[in-house]
Amino acid sequence: MEPLFTYWHFDLGTVILFLLFSWGYGYLSGFKLQKGAGLYFGGLSLMLLMELSPLHFLGMHYLLSAYMIVHIVLLLICGPLMLIGLPRSSDHRLIWQVSRFFNYWPWMGWLSAIGVMWFWHIPAVFESVFPADHTVFSFHWIAFLHSGSLLLAGICFSWPILSPVRELQVNPLLGIVYLFTACIGCSILGLLLTFAPPTLYKHYFMTDEFGFAELIKTSWGISRAKDQQLAGLMMWVPCCFIYLSGAMVMVYKMLVKDERV
């Protein structure tokens, strides 16, 4: 058993994703680094880090809660970061069209994120995300779809609110409702994970291939039941915290800014 931090792995799918999204940035910015590129690529590298690091390894083989961290970071941190990092001044037609689309149909963004989130947690689907064997170099097309859809959904979700075209952002009151209902959407999933019996995901009951089970159980004190509870609570509380903080920012924009000082 090697120390945990050496368990990096090189997933081909992730690298393809990275390249695809980098190319996307280039396409929208006319292949020039513009203001905000740091954020965009920061978000993208965060994705890389999440997908290749030992955290991902833990999520794949031992801990639902580790998997959940990756899931949440991809959806709620990487996605919005990349969106904010999109070239603001760009008058690329695509950005306008997408902004207009999400201004008219904000709920599509909502649906994409919540839908993706729920879809990947249906037990049968969940099991299929993980490749049967773990090698250092691998490509697993469902895992590729998984990460890709999370990133994309993260971007779509935040688009109505953080749209690069300022005048096409939704009005703050709708924004609050939008974020709050999203919070409910993921709360319910979190709630179910928290209070469901720990046998929900059979995946983590497979053999202890790398010999970490004992370490996790005794020195980290995370039992199977606790792990699923933790995962559920992460989906629930920190996730909602992000949504609700967003809502509070919208309130701030709406009320505090134009207050008479």
Binding site: S223, E259, R260, V261
Partner: protein, 314 residues
């Protein structure tokens, strides 16, 4: 067995667990007093200083002050963070997880009494629960009907007893004595008379008590009691109550094997005297309305015999 009277209060911690919780109680009181003093102080100052006087012009219109607001948010936030840290710390210290340990006693809440079964022994008792002092003891809490709650203020945390769920509580009683508490979750008509009495013995006394109580009931001493024993088994008493060493093996009422050695009757409702037992048998509903025990129309002699028998079960 020492019978020291004790003050029922969460500020009278008598177990190691309660001691662990008590700093938090004190911090909370200090923080609350501080906030109260600030609020009331400000209010007194404001109401005296800024009274309207005749002919006042409109005061200066202040809409906002970002610095003040920052303090208003910041200070409560810091206090809350402090309490959160303390909460998590104390919580994890007092509630270690239970992993296969055998509980010292399994306590089952019933409408409206407590059944205590001591695993590994034959001891079954009701309402007055003996525990060893100075030892870390695990209680397993269950319910037979509705939700009850185990609460002895001096022992720290309380715990719900939920049908279909096993809950656990650790308790390390400091010194021998009698500790009182009560059912703390509304459980029906006689929720008020579902009081708990824990008698903490020194470990030696406790072993002695276990030994005594694991024995079968004493045979009736005199003819009256003997008659009572016969009646107890013939009439329906034995359908619900059990007395070890006799054919009476009913499970739905409290175990009466050593009834006479308890100091109170009916979950703390009255002291254990012949008079009280008699009154109860004559009219259970009148003494403890809602109680599950039906009213039997017994002749006077029959009741006397039963009382003689029961009050003999040391």
């Amino acid at each position: 067995m020492s019978q020291g009277s004790h003050v029922i209060s969460i500020f009278n911690p008598q177990s190691a667990e309660a001691w662990k919780l008590s700093p938090l109680n004190n911090y909370l009181i200090i923080a609350c007093s501080f906030i109260m003093i600030v609020v009331v102080g400000l209010l007194i100052y404001v109401t005296i200083k800024f009274r309207a006087k005749a002919g006042d012009a409109e005061p200066k219109q202040i809409y906002n002050n970002r610095t003040v607001e920052a303090f208003m948010i910041g200070i409560p936030f810091l206090m809350v963070s402090f309490f959160f840290y303390q909460t998590v710390k104390v919580m994890n210290e007092t509630e270690p997880t239970v992993q296969g340990q055998v509980p010292t006693v399994v306590i089952t809440g019933r409408q409206w009494w407590w059944q205590a079964v001591y695993p590994g022994t034959t001891v079954v008792t009701a309402n007055e629960i003996h525990l060893p002092a100075g030892k870390k003891v695990l209680l397993q809490l269950e319910s037979q009907d509705v939700i009850h709650d185990w609460w002895i203020p001096s022992f720290g945390p309380k715990m719900d007893m939920i049908p279909g769920v096993k809950n656990y509580l650790w308790v390390t009683i400091g010194k021998p004595g009698v500790y009182e508490g009560a059912c703390s979750e509304f459980c029906g008509k006689q929720h008020a008379w579902m009081r708990i009495k824990v008698i903490a013995d020194s470990p030696a006394d406790y072993q002695q008590w276990l030994l005594n109580k694991s024995k079968a009931a004493l045979p009736p001493a005199d003819t009256l009691a003997l008659a009572g024993a016969v009646i107890f088994n013939k009439k329906s008493c034995a359908d619900c109550h059990s007395i070890r060493g006799t054919p009476a093996q009913g499970k739905s009422g409290p175990d009466l094997t050593h009834l006479a050695s308890r100091t109170t009757l009916l979950a703390g409702m009255m002291t254990n005297t012949k008079e009280h037992i008699k009154r109860f048998i004559n009219n259970p509903e009148g003494v403890k309305p809602g109680v599950r025990m039906p009213r039997f129309i017994f002749k006077k002699d029959t009741v006397n015999a039963l009382v003689a028998y029961l009050s003999n079960l040391k």
